[in-house]
Every structure is written in structure tokens, then in C-alpha cells.
Subunit: 367 residues, 2 copies
Amino acid sequence: MNAITDINQLPTPAVIVDLPTVRRNIASMAGYCRSHGFKLRPHAKTHKSLRIGQMQMEAGAIGLTVAKADEAAVMAGATDDVLVAYPAFDAPRAAILAELARIKMVRVSVDSTHAVDHLAEAARSAGTTIGILVDLDVGFHRTGVQSSDAALALAQHVDQTNDVRLDGIMFFPGHVFLPASAQEKPLADVSALLQETIQLWTRHGLSTSIVSGGSTPTARQSHHVAGLTEIRPGTYVYYDANCVAGGWCQLEDCAARVVCTVVSTAVERKCVIDAGSKTMTSDRRFDAPDTAGFGLLVDMPLARVSRLSEEHGEIELRGEAVPKLGSRITLIPNHICPCINLHDRIWFREDDGRFTRGVIDARGKIH
Amino acid sequence: MNAITDINQLPTPAVIVDLPTVRRNIASMAGYCRSHGFKLRPHAKTHKSLRIGQMQMEAGAIGLTVAKADEAAVMAGATDDVLVAYPAFDAPRAAILAELARIKMVRVSVDSTHAVDHLAEAARSAGTTIGILVDLDVGFHRTGVQSSDAALALAQHVDQTNDVRLDGIMFFPGHVFLPASAQEKPLADVSALLQETIQLWTRHGLSTSIVSGGSTPTARQSHHVAGLTEIRPGTYVYYDANCVAGGWCQLEDCAARVVCTVVSTAVERKCVIDAGSKTMTSDRRFDAPDTAGFGLLVDMPLARVSRLSEEHGEIELRGEAVPKLGSRITLIPNHICPCINLHDRIWFREDDGRFTRGVIDARGKIH
């Protein structure tokens, strides 16, 4: 069963990716970047798919971003330019990345001299060079050096180390996971810190040829951040219920949906679908973690997926008629990236309406 | 790299399953069942592994339990007797199960005449018979018929339908996911409802040769439930942080652990490990969902995994020294079953201390 025409023939739960919508999302983000002079380096964590990565590259992306070394090795099949936006310096990862750097452009973002030294050592062993971006914490407080001065010190260390090359600055504004209307102030702070850092590096003769920002929530506000050269949004390719809730997309932009079957209606005011946490993840909706439920019910606006077991999704009905046993229900996941990672296969809806089997090439690549 | 001796050689994040502990857990639950005259039908959802399933069968299990049809097809490699504790009646699943029923004992738990009719039709097409357990809701309110009378009516329907065979009653006491000390009252209610149902069926000449209870939290209280013939615990084979928190096991019984590497210490009072929600799941701890963090830090009793991204686990240090970059940290997941489902491979720690590669045979089988 490699291509089918009737959605009701798909075994459920089935993840469906609507390619016309994906194409529109890719073109729209590429257009935004072009119009503001940014380069686009999409994060492949959302789709983990060579086919989608190639579509992004064909639409003008300059390369792809990944988090882990094994993902880099896979996604290099779709691009010659890979950024590992992760401190991937331990021996097994550094070896994989150094090997890859012999045939592709490889950059890694780091926040320690320890990481620089280990990557340099691996590059030296492989007879190659790895590009380094200094990871600057702009407010999410996860990774990243803690000040402009610390960024300068780390940049100077990179500059003085053989077998690595200083390429610029990377940051992740994860703390601006906020409705678009609330982003102005935190993005102004990000902008100020970046300006300060860039000026400091310039005064010391260091290059900031790349200043790489990221994230779908803030992507279309990037022109308010001074000094930025590129962005790394990932989720925008499919979007999800979080993005709808944050106002970062419209419902119709959600390209990935999960089609489920109703397997039980025995309990009053409830129906059970065959999609639980093994299909959807347990990720909650950022704006209403305790009340929004696990995914957006496209055709049942009042109902709520109130509880997930591993294989059961319990839908609390609130005014809707009880769906028939065996009927289909469609959901938009709260967080599409880890959801895609759960699935061995997805179904692409092609331009002609047929469904073809999709492979998640970099699924489960956690090393 | 199929067998290694030094744990520090494993690429991280690495799931390690300690086989001596698994063997002890399997023997202990088998011993409990023997001493009370229960049969044991472990739920394979926790390990999804033919090797572990075979160990359970060798220790006296009468068969294995699964949730989905594709899991049944895989786990049938370890047993001749499979119970699908799930209303798996839609056409693709019914066809898989009917085919399997030609060579193995297959039973399915259902809560609707619709499900019975569809399974019967599939069994007829395959020229076989499927055993049916009536799913009785004992208080979790997820699936299951809602009363003894409803159970009787469904049992009578099964009894009058060709190509299926009435084998008894199944229930899942998911609402007794409570500390052992708080289980007495709800289990007494379960016991009373079961007694009433069994007596009703007996008066109507219907067989209850199987009365199947389940779940690790209540497993060792099963002798307080009258009428039970078998139990279906799953998690007991590995246990997890939820089980420690609920008092259903000791820390030393936790057979599956995740070994991680420290990749960043740039942010004060924090360290970041290379295990996020793609390694651990976002499942929270049942007794303290907002405060306990994402997994139990075996060697850092004061610290807490306070936030997960997909590839980052942020550990909030509370008094501990900051771990060295590149050093290893070990975690016990909150909920081991969906965690195992995230991994393409695990590492078995053999009796001789070597680590061998393990396959999760039924990983990702959601159909």
C-alpha cells in the first residue's frame, strides 16, 4: 500500500502531511526572509525528512539546522550546509561531525572552551575544520554564555584555536514563546544585547559574519532584531496547536494532522480514540497547560481531549453528539515536532490528492 | 559495537536495562501470583521486547497482553497466547488479529456489540475464532461497559454470535493509581462490582473462566479482589519513578535507567544533559506533576530536572557542585513504558556485566 486515494483506507492513527500547505508555508517564510534580507536555515527537527528538507532548500534556504550529530549525518543528504545548534562536543558526537565536515560545511554552536577544544581535537584527527558559533543566552537560560564579555572571551578562544573557525553568534529566544502581541519588549532586549555583543567583537577585530536567531514564534518579528543575518525556524513547516494558540499561524496553515478512529463510546459524555501519548506525546498546550487538552479537535470545537493513556485518547464531549464507533476524528497536535518523532511512517497528501507513504528519515536520532 | 564492557563507552543518551534486576522483578511477581493462585499475563507494553517476553513466559506467565494489533503480531513471537486488552475491532486491526488467531490463541477485550460483530466477521473471513473478554468499567471511566447488567447483555450477545467465543471479564483499575496505603477502599468497590457481575453471569449460565485484572500499582493487592483469575501488570518488569513515588517498588527495583552526558553548565545553578522529551517523554510524576521534575536523579538527590526541551534536560542544582562538562548523569524516567517506545535501541546489562545491544521489537506499533 504505497499510494492510496481514500483517506478512510489509512490504518489509524495516521499522521497526514498536506504537501500543498507545506509548500505554502515554506514559500511564505522564504518570502518574509527575502523581503528583509535574512538568510533562512530551517531547523529540521520538525519534519526530520529528506524530502521536506529538499523542498526547503529548493525554496532558497541556505542550509539546514539540526540538534544532534546523528541528525546532521542524515539531513546532510538534503543539504551541503549543516548547523548543529547544540553543544555536540562529546567524543562520539565530535567524531561524527568531524567526519561529516570533510565533505560538508559543518558548524556547531557552543558555550564553553571545553566544547571548542574537543571539537578542535576531533577536527584535527579528521584533517578538517569545524565552524563555531558562540551560543549567547538572550533570556531563555538553558544554554549560552551569560554576557557580551563572556561571548567575547569564548570567541577569542575559538579564534586562537587551530582546526576550528569562528563564524559568529547563535541565540535561541525560547523565552519569547509568547503571543505575538507580547513579544515587543523581550525582543527589544534581545536586540540590545546582540548589538552590544556585535560591537564588542568588532572592536576586537572578530568576525560576526553569522548572527543566527531562531524559532517559529518570533520568526516574523525578526526585522525588529538588529544585527541578525539569518533565522532558524522549524515548526513553521507544519505548524501545530501551540502556533494557533500563540497567533503565529492560522488554523489552515497546520499541515500535519492525526486521523484517529473512535474505538469506545461506553462511558457517558465521552468517546475514546485510538491515539494516546504514543501517538500525540504528552506535551501540553503552552497557553493553557491544564485545561486545553491534548490536541485541537478540528471538527469538534466544543470537545476536549481531556486525558491520554499510551494508546487511548479520551474526548470529553460538551454538546456534540456521540460519534459513531469506527468513525474518524482529526486532531492537530499541541507540539508537532516530538509527535512526528513517534511515527515510523506518515502519509503525504500529494498535490493530486493521493496519499503516499512518507519516511521520517531522522526519527529517533538522539545521539 | 555489539557488546562492550565500559559504561562510559556507550553513546548517550543510553537506556540501560539491568537484566539481573529484571529477572528478580519477574521472579518476584511470578512468586506472588503462584502463592495466591493467580495466573500472570504480563502486559508487554513496557518492554516491547521478545527477549523480555520470553523471560516472562519461562518464569510461568500463561501468555502476554498487548494493546494494539501490530503489537500482538510482533509479541506472538514470544508466546502462543495473546490478549489484546483494547477494543481493536476496526477493519485493519480485526483482519490482523483474525489472521493471527489461525495460529495462536487470540483474545480481545471489547465494550460494544459493534466491536463483537466486527471481530466475528473478521474471524469468519479467516476461518477462525476469536476469544472475547467483556471490558467492565470498574471506576477509571475510560472504556468498559457501565454496569453488571450491561456486562451481562454484552456477554449474551457474544454468546449468541458465531465465530467469537465468550471467555470472561476484563477490567483495568486505572483509578487505583494511588499509594498502596490508599488502595483498600477503591479495591473493595472493584471487588463488590466484580462479584455482582460474576454472580449475574453464572445465574444466566454464562462462563467467567477468565476474570482478568491488571496494573502494576494494584498487582500485589490482587488477593483482596474476589473472583480474580489472573492479572496483567506491565511496568513491574522495569518499574520507574512513578512506582517508587507510589510505594509500589523500591529504588533498587528500577531496572531501566537513562545515562546522559552533561553538555552545558553556562547558566548559573544549572546543568544541561543531552536527554530531553525525545529521550524521556514529557510524562510528569503522578504524585507531584508540577514540582517533581522529569525523572529521578539517582546520584543527585537534591537536584531536579526542571525543564525539558526536545534534546535538552535542564537540571536545577540545589546544593550540589556543578557537574563537569562531559560527565555522566543517570536518571530513572517518570514513566518507563512510553520512554522505551522512543528508543531504537537499548543496552542490556548482562549477568556478567557486559552491555549488549537490545532491540525494541514492538517499538512504534500503534496500529
